[in-house]
């Protein structure tokens, strides 16, 4: 089948799919006219029940905390999967990181990129930490803060220092941090079970003022664990891809 035939068959079938999709979407009550009871019911009780002013984070880590557990493990498995798929195959050799720096004929990093990357590393770490620890008050959360923390490490690589990046994020330490993050989330749920409460129930004191940093019980703690797990998983994924690009060579 030639590409042109494939394209025309797709255009006919795709038009049919889009028409069907639009017919289904036209049954919705229209944009801006949300009727549903679930959203309004949660908005009525969320702040009173959890003392968290960020209702989306309260939903993510408490009302639907089990879904977030699954999502975090998706990222965990993705990091493990990338490490497995990109393992050293038969017929490849991996140069050690020290050899690479000596004889590489790569153009040096421009000083503008170096300066900006190094200047921004500190503020990015601060912003990521703030986002990961303030899930219950503001539009923030463990996931966003975690990826920002990982971006700070990648900025170090972008400023031209691949060896420093490897030294600051050794694979063993990143593995341990990721496992602590994922295991911490599960452990918080299990410690609720140990107190004969349902799994992942909020059992820490809720605090006085809604929206303070130390309020809302386990929401802040879970968000912190998710943050470090996501940061470690992302550093692992980027580290694997960097190894592929820079260290692994073909041939015996």
């Amino acid at each position: 089948m030639t590409p042109w035939q494939r394209r025309w068959i797709f255009l006919v079938a795709g038009a049919g799919l889009v028409a069907f999709y639009l017919w289904g979407l036209s049954g919705l009550p229209g944009f801006g006219r949300y009727p549903g009871p679930y959203g309004f019911a949660i908005l009525r009780v969320a702040v009173a029940q959890t003392n968290a002013t960020g209702v989306v984070s309260a939903i993510n880590f408490e009302y639907r905390g089990f879904d977030t557990l699954g999502e975090e493990f998706i990222l965990f498995v993705a990091a493990a999967g990338v490490a497995t798929v990109l393992r050293r195959l038969r017929g490849e050799r991996e140069r050690s990181a020290v050899d690479e720096a000596a004889g590489r004929d790569v153009p040096p990093t421009s000083s503008a990129v170096r300066m900006v990357a190094l200047l921004f590393t500190g503020p990015v770490v601060l912003a990521g930490w703030w986002l990961a620890s303030h899930a219950q008050t503001n539009p923030s959360g463990g996931f966003q803060g975690g990826i920002l923390l990982a971006t700070a490490f990648i900025l170090i690589y972008l400023s031209g220092e691949f060896l420093v990046f490897k030294r600051l994020s050794p694979a063993d330490l990143t593995d341990v941090v990721e496992a602590v993050g994922a295991g911490g989330f599960v452990a918080i749920g299990l410690s609720a079970v140990a107190m004969s409460l349902p799994y992942l129930k909020n059992f820490l004191p809720l605090g006085q003022v809604p929206g303070a940093v130390s309020s809302s019980g386990t929401i802040a703690l879970i968000s912190f664990f998710v943050g470090i797990e996501v940061a470690a998983a992302f550093i692992l994924i980027v580290g694997e891809l960097l190894d592929q690009t820079l260290l692994i060579r073909q041939g015996g």
Binding site: P3, R6, R7, F10, L11, G14, A15, L17, V18, Y21, L22, L25, S26, L28, G30, F31, G32, R33, Y34, G36, Y38, G39, I42, L43, R44, A46, V47, A48, T53, G54, V55, V56, I59, N60, R64, D67, T68, E71, I74, L75, V77, A78, A79, G81, V82, V85, L86, L89, T137, N138, P139, G141, F143, P210, G211, V230, I237, E240, L241, Q250
Partner: protein
């Protein structure tokens, strides 16, 4: 305005699928898959929107102000994480496919036999 966001959702879905089907480069195909998945974010947020309401954060507005639906926002957050994880896995498969077969053209990869 009643139905325009959903028309845009269907358009993005159709355009992304066209890119996936007629692609000649694995990385281009993966990026078009990202576009297809991003249409579902717009759909989720479009379903939960309430005209004239605020974001569901009550730090500076009084409690019980009419707000948009927070549940679909939590669903969209999970969706974004899943997209990142799936893309990382797909890219590692693409690298190994290139090492094994020497080509990144999906229409040629279909003909190779091991």
């Amino acid at each position: 305005m009643q139905v325009f966001p959903f028309v845009v959702v269907a358009w993005i879905l159709g355009v992304g699928l066209y890119g996936v089907v007629t692609s000649r480069h694995l990385v281009h195909q993966i990026i078009c898959l990202i576009v297809v998945q991003s249409s579902t974010y717009v759909l989720l947020l479009g379903v939960g929107y309430v005209t004239g309401a605020v974001a569901p954060y009550f730090f500076d507005v009084p409690d019980h102000t009419p707000a948009v639906d927070p549940v679909v926002q939590a669903c969209a957050l999970t969706d974004v994480v899943v997209e990142a994880a799936v893309t990382a896995m797909l890219l590692s498969f693409a690298i190994q496919a290139y090492k094994r077969f020497g080509t990144l053209d999906p229409q040629e990869l279909a003909d190779l036999k091991g």
